[in-house]
């Protein structure tokens, strides 16, 4: 394969990764890592460096649209970044203590659990009209957005901020450990624990994953783990995909987003289990 064929083919795959990633609030690294290692036979260290970039590209590309459509809950996102960034910093230290195989298995268990609980709660996505959560009321983390499929303004109150913070801390840790955006944990933390509607959760997760990824991307960059010939098609492809995907989100139904998300969670969990057990 010539270098030009490599760049063009990887660019096309990256568009698909950005599309899926922005729709469900994941970084797309879940697709990029196996594609690079299994199809193009690229070293895992370079694949992880490229994956962290795809997370930032999805986040920044999709967030522009989501913020303008008022889907993103900016205040809740920034508040939860307290936990994701501290989690990412501690995660970098913990890597030296735990073996990577047990990490993959742990990650897989968490994913299967969130897929299960999301499937279980699928039809009763409870939107709160009142919240007794003191932190959420004090910082005014509640939000609203206009749902174009239901043709109405959806106002929601946020609760469970302490549980949300705890889950986000774990998400930040796993993000630093595995080089992923860990949107797979962020979306259920907001949707299930904090009662943020699924579309707003996906949009807010997309907004947050860029910051979590930036916390480790600097180190990957300085270590020379970001190869330019791999990075160029991935960044441009993922950005194109994320811009298209983010324009689609407000036009698809919440149930479709949830179904797609559960499917992706299961695929990722199987992939992680394989890595942990091999």
């Amino acid at each position: 394969m010539s270098p030009l064929d490599f760049v063009v083919s990887l660019g096309i795959i990256s568009i698909a990764a950005g599309l899926l990633g922005s729709l469900v609030g994941l970084g797309g690294g879940i697709i990029i890592v196996p594609v690079l290692t299994l199809i193009y036979h690229i070293d895992i260290r370079l694949a992880i460096g490229a994956s962290i970039l795809s997370v930032i590209a999805t986040s920044s590309g999709a967030a522009v649209t989501y913020i303008r459509e008022h889907l993103t809950n900016l205040r809740a996102g920034m508040f939860l970044e307290i936990a994701t960034t501290t989690g990412a910093v501690t995660g970098a230290y913990i890597t030296t203590l735990i073996g990577s195989k047990s990490l993959f298995i742990l990650f897989a268990i968490v994913l299967i659990y969130s897929a299960f609980s999301m499937f279980h709660n699928r039809h009763k996505s409870v939107i709160l009209t009142d919240s007794k959560d003191r932190i959420a009321n004090y910082l005014n983390l509640h939000g609203s957005y206009y749902d174009q499929t239901e043709h109405q303004e959806i106002s929601y109150k946020v609760s469970g901020t302490k549980l949300g913070l705890g889950l986000m801390y774990i998400a930040g840790m796993i993000s630093a450990l595995l080089g992923v955006g860990s949107g797979a944990l962020k979306v259920p933390a907001m949707d299930i624990a904090m009662h943020i509607p699924i579309k707003a959760s996906a949009a807010t997760s997309d907004f947050m994953i860029g910051v979590t990824a930036a916390a480790s991307a600097g180190a990957y960059f300085a270590r020379g783990q970001i190869n330019p010939i791999i990075a160029a098609p991935i960044v441009i492809g993922v950005l194109i995909g994320a811009v298209i995907g983010s324009r689609l989100l407000s036009h698809v139904t919440s149930r479709y987003v949830q179904g797609l998300f559960i499917l992706v969670l299961i695929v990722v969990a199987i992939e992680m289990l394989q890595r942990g057990l091999s």
Partner: protein, 125 residues
């Protein structure tokens, strides 16, 4: 200005910061890719040579500087990548200023804390 209006203005500023970062990064990476392929010529080489762990490319301030002066494609791509990494950090920094201007002290402190943790993550590693 009502709190809803000021939040909408904040949303517009934050999304503009992200948009500018993304566009600048994309243009730099595109320019780098065009440069890279025009310098490469039509040789029948395989892509594998360029994607091994041993393939060297500029990623420190001094090597990036000389790569840019030499008009090297990989140098431009790496600068574009660096701009992409900076974008979310710049977004957090902008939010601090927005909340401060709105005299929203709790949220100013929240975002300031996030920025400090982000900076420390670069220093600690």
């Amino acid at each position: 200005m009502s709190s809803q209006q000021s939040m909408k203005k904040a949303e517009l500023i934050v999304s503009t910061v992200l948009q500018v970062g993304v566009i600048l990064s994309t243009l730099t990476i595109l320019a780098g890719t065009v440069l890279l392929f025009s310098n490469m010529g039509n040789g029948q080489s395989s892509y594998r040579r360029y994607v091994t762990v041993n393939y060297s490319f500029p990623h420190t301030i001094s090597t990036l500087k000389s790569a840019l002066l030499a008009g090297s494609g990989t140098g431009f791509i790496e600068i574009g990548v660096f701009l992409l990494i900076l974008t979310p950090i710049l977004r957090v920094a902008t939010s601090i200023l927005i909340f401060k201007r709105q005299k929203d002290t709790p949220m100013t402190l929240v975002t300031l804390f996030v920025l400090l943790v982000l900076i420390s993550s670069f220093v600690l590693k």
